[in-house]
């Protein structure tokens, strides 16, 4: 049955959609298309793009590797204090990223709570390295994956896990052969979310890793630094980021539906 929508609601919805679409379209309109090839092949552009892709893919994989077991624990463990742990784990989603960067410095900086020992004992200094870029990205991106996968674990059929146990499967076998395959759509969706969030990460990374071209400067950092220096180039880099984001959404469209 088709439902009629009131005209005034349509107008308001139209304004909302236009507000989001217009800035994105403006970049498309203002992009110097004729110089696009030259600008994309510039060394600084290629460097930032490479660092962005490399760090964000690694960050998404690390988020998945550690986030899925965390999601399982949050979904199934009945240990007390777990709800507090959940709040802590998803805090980065609402935290201003720059605060996340400061927090990482406080923990892993040379004077940091943990970083001090890393530096004293093994001469390891994490801030302002490419590892720091990845750490910042994991910090902000992993919660997205954890939430998506935890919801899936919660909804999954416990009866199947019980059946597997009565057939002799140990808890870890149940996890790998029953629970994990059932959560696959959510894990893929969570990976995509975590990757997209890592790719766009700016605040935490620039605070903890700095913006050194060729070392730690990612695409978003390059865009930010270029705005006042070379506006046209920053438009081109923005276009690249928009293109990747839209591609992720398009590729994941079916997965979202499964995940719901």
């Amino acid at each position: 049955m088709k439902q009629r929508t009131s005209p005034s609601l349509k107008v308001i919805a139209g304004i909302a959609a236009a507000f989001i679409a217009l800035p994105l379209l403006s970049i498309l309109v203002r992009t110097p298309w004729s110089d696009l090839g030259d600008m994309l092949s510039q060394k600084s552009t290629r460097q930032a793009l490479t660092i962005s892709l490399q760090t964000s893919v690694i960050a998404a994989l690390i988020s998945c590797l550690f986030g899925v077991p965390l999601a399982w624990l949050l979904a199934r463990s009945r240990t007390r204090g777990l709800s507090a742990l959940r709040v802590v784990c998803i805090t980065p989603m609402v935290l201003p990223p720059v605060v996340g960067g400061i927090a990482l410095l406080t923990a892993f900086g040379r004077q940091g709570l943990v970083g001090r020992f890393l530096y004293d004992w093994w001469d390891v200094s994490l801030p302002f390295t490419r590892t720091a870029v990845v750490m910042a990205q994991v910090f902000v991106a992993m919660p997205f994956l954890v939430l998506a996968v935890e919801a899936s674990f919660r909804q999954s059929d416990k009866g199947l896990e019980e059946a597997a146990r009565t057939m002799g499967a140990s808890p870890s076998r149940v996890f790998f052969t029953i629970a994990l395959p059932a959560a696959r759509p959510a894990i893929i969706a969570g990976l995509a979310l975590a990757w997209a969030r890592s790719l766009g990460e700016f605040g935490a990374s620039i605070t903890f890793a700095g913006s050194f071209p060729g070392r730690t400067q990612t695409l978003p950092m390059a865009v930010y630094e270029l705005v006042s220096v070379d506006y046209r180039l920053s438009l081109v880099l923005s276009l690249v980021l928009i293109f990747i984001s839209v591609a992720v959404l398009a590729a994941m469209r079916d997965r979202w539906m499964v995940g719901r």
Binding site: A163, R165, P181, A182
Partner: protein, 209 residues
């Protein structure tokens, strides 16, 4: 005496004192209306719910005795369950479903597969190995569930309404198959059913809840 349960089973508000024992080759039917806790008894024996008090044992092994903190985890009990809602693994083929328990118990892959094939043939599903649970009928799924339980050669077989989830046509086929399978089963069987005809056909003893 193969299986004996003497104690209080319960889940949530429900609680019930029970004293049953089932010898080798015997089929004990537990009957009663919906909500009388029949499935709770099955789940307690399978180790999915703990006893409230008393003792559950199979042969000379105590599976559950709260008073002495004795508890054998579900995966280590020599019992197999056919659940009321069947519970096949939809992401696996029929043969993988049947072989799952053998693999979990450490049987080599080729041996697990050949034993599973044999069991599938016994329940009349010879060429079903590579089908998916969602692509076969309700009666066929029930047969897979029976094969999946029997292939483990358990000491205790737990059947929760084994004939309720299938349509009338495949029901009649199962009515002939099930007594035949149970006759060939050496261990103790606990059967839960609300249907007097099923109980009449299958059980050697009956208790009501």
């Amino acid at each position: 005496m193969t299986l004996s349960l003497n104690g209080i089973v319960g889940r949530g508000e429900f609680e019930r004192m029970l004293d049953i024992s089932v010898a080798d080759g015997e089929v004990l039917a537990i009957t009663g209306p919906n909500g009388s806790g029949k499935s709770t008894v099955i789940h307690t024996i399978a180790g999915l719910i703990p006893l409230r008090s008393g003792k559950l044992q199979s042969d000379d092994t105590t599976w559950d005795e709260p008073a002495t903190n004795t508890w054998i985890a579900s995966e280590n009990r020599t019992c197999a369950v056919v659940f009321q809602d069947i519970r096949l693994f939809a992401h696996m083929s029929v043969i993988s479903n049947v072989a799952y328990g053998l693999r979990a118990r450490g049987v080599r892959k080729d041996e697990a597969l050949s034993r599973s094939e044999t069991l599938l043939a016994r329940v009349g599903l010879t060429s079903f190995s590579n089908r998916r649970p969602n692509d076969i009928s309700g009666g066929e799924r029930q047969r897979v569930a029976l094969a999946r339980a029997l292939v483990l050669e358990p000491r205790v077989l737990l059947l929760d309404e084994p004939l309720s989830a299938v349509d009338a046509a495949s029901r009649s086929g199962l009515h002939e198959l099930l007594p035949e399978l149970l006759a060939g089963f050496a261990g103790s069987t606990v059967l839960v059913s609300h249907d007097p005809a099923d109980v009449e056909a299958l059980a050697s003893a009956t208790i009501g809840l």
